[in-house]
Amino acid sequence: MSAENIIEVRIFEPNTSVLAELREFVISTGRLVGLAEETLRNIALAVDEAATNVIRHVASQHPCLIGCTCETNSNHSEVTYEISWDDTKPFNPSIPEKEVISQRIGTFTPGGLGIFLMHHLVDDIAFDYNNGKCVVKLIKRV
């Protein structure tokens, strides 16, 4: 269950010029642990969405840095990417229903796509808050 082997950690400035590097970080660490190419692409997009949200909704309000950690659990059955950032309050959004997203797309109402995508691109998603750090965990079973 718990992710125990840290493969790599990297810290990013909270602006969109780092997104390309962040996706490359996911792809290179994911290759290291043997994820398939399609899985790599899905996780890179999910991590991009999580970081973009921090850049847009958190860093514009408070100074913060974004951490990204790649970990596997002891029997290597799960790979977890953790995106963490400094925040004054927990972040634990509800995942929009497919119907809500269809309706938003149908009425051309932006917003909500990122969290929906994150949820559907990985096997499991979890939100956590500890000592002023918010964490989104994106979990892929292998």
């Binding site: 997104l19 390309a20 973009t52 797309i105």
Partner: protein, 122 residues
């Protein structure tokens, strides 16, 4: 270590019909390049009054919700002017993302630019 930020371009290319504008997208369309794409569409749609657009995705390597948000921001506007935005040549990996979100229900997605042109009836 300084990796290059995401690169993206949008350019008008040859159109099969005078009333249609074909826009070729290439590179990575994420939150870094989305503002650039938005300015490009503002120029096309608001300043040059083009509203029958075919977006050629063949050289697009990556799209995130920030890029899709830009498209959603213009679709109503072009349709209310009697136009539309149709997608052509969408690579499998990009189609996967559009499909997850239900874009195929709202946007016509054609295999080629010519087939997208045919879908503009009027």
């Amino acid at each position: 270590m300084a990796t290059t930020p995401s690169q993206f371009t949008a350019v008008e290319t040859a159109s099969p019909r005078a009333d249609l504008s074909v826009i070729a997208l290439s590179g990575q369309l994420d939150a870094h390049t989305a503002p650039e794409f938005e300015r490009f569409l503002e120029q096309e749609v608001r300043n040059e009054n083009k509203h029958k657009l075919i977006l050629d995705f063949s050289a697009l390597e990556y799209i995130s919700s920030a890029g899709l948000g830009v498209l959603m921001g213009f679709i109503e506007e072009v349709r209310s002017d009697g136009g539309d935005m149709k997608f052509a040549c969408v690579p499998e990996k990009i189609y996967h993302v559009l499909d997850l979100l239900g874009f195929p229900v709202v946007f016509t997605i054609a295999p080629t630019v010519d087939e997208a042109a045919v879908a503009f009836t009027n």
